[in-house]
């Protein structure tokens, strides 16, 4: 399809494990964003890529969280030593060049840490 694709759609793992969440943005979009959304809340900004580089990673909660976008398209959000508080829906969005432009969201990965 032509939209933003996130995999897996659901991930259940045990506390302490390592997880990787993948985002395939819309082809040609240079800006890519990761958000975390807890139940009943709006999306919380994590990190913003412009091309291959992280333009703003101020939303990453701690050093257990890391994201890469090595070729400027697909991005992977990596979480080490997962904790129960990491449970949330992780949303990815892309836009043509960032800024005020419309963001197109994927349907998210629902992460559950047992």
């Amino acid at each position: 399809g032509a939209g933003v694709s996130q995999t897996p759609s659901n991930k259940v793992t045990e506390k302490g494990k390592y997880v990787e969440l993948r985002c395939d943005p819309i082809s040609g979009h240079t800006a890519l964003y990761w958000y975390r959304q807890s139940l009943g809340q709006g999306p919380e900004f994590l990190i913003y890529f412009q091309g291959t580089g992280a333009a703003d990673d101020s939303g990453l909660p701690n050093d257990r969280f890391f994201a890469v976008r090595p070729e400027g398209s697909v991005s992977t959000l990596k979480i080490q030593r997962t904790e129960r508080g990491d449970s949330a829906v992780y949303l990815c969005a892309s836009s043509p060049t960032g800024g005020n432009q419309p963001q197109h969201f994927g349907d998210g990965t629902r992460l559950s840490i047992l």
């Binding site: 709006g42 913003y48 939303g59 419309p102 969201f105 994927g106």
Partner: protein, 111 residues
């Protein structure tokens, strides 16, 4: 501290009624966006407003950006059950900045 405050948090009204939801801040935004999100899906953009005082209409939905670019409202006329969802406002302070979201207004329209 929440930069964008949305009110009300929850709203349940009968089909056919009108409603307004609000998005307020003490900060100035270069643009504000409104999104609608349904369960299990990502937010979908409804509108972007960039000029103070701007009004945009999308069928039965009317969006307004405050003159000082610190607040916005969404008015729905003759609400329908299909309008049910989570309405999120989001803003950028500078043109190249990240987008900051409010917590949303959960709207339920009763048939």
């Amino acid at each position: 501290t929440q930069l964008l405050e949305q009110s009300p948090q929850f709203l349940s009204i009968q089909e056919g009624e009108n409603l307004t939801v609000y998005c307020n801040s003490s900060s100035v935004f270069s643009s504000l966006q409104w999104y609608r999100q349904e369960p299990g899906e990502g937010p979908v953009l409804l509108v972007t407003v960039v000029t103070g005082g701007e009004v945009k209409k999308l069928k039965r939905l009317t969006f307004q950006f405050g003159d000082a670019r610190k607040d916005s409202s969404l008015h729905i006329t003759a609400a329908q059950p299909g309008d049910t969802g989570l309405y999120l406002c989001a803003g950028t302070m500078n043109r190249d900045d990240k987008i900051i979201f409010g917590k949303g207004t959960r709207l339920h329209i009763l048939p």
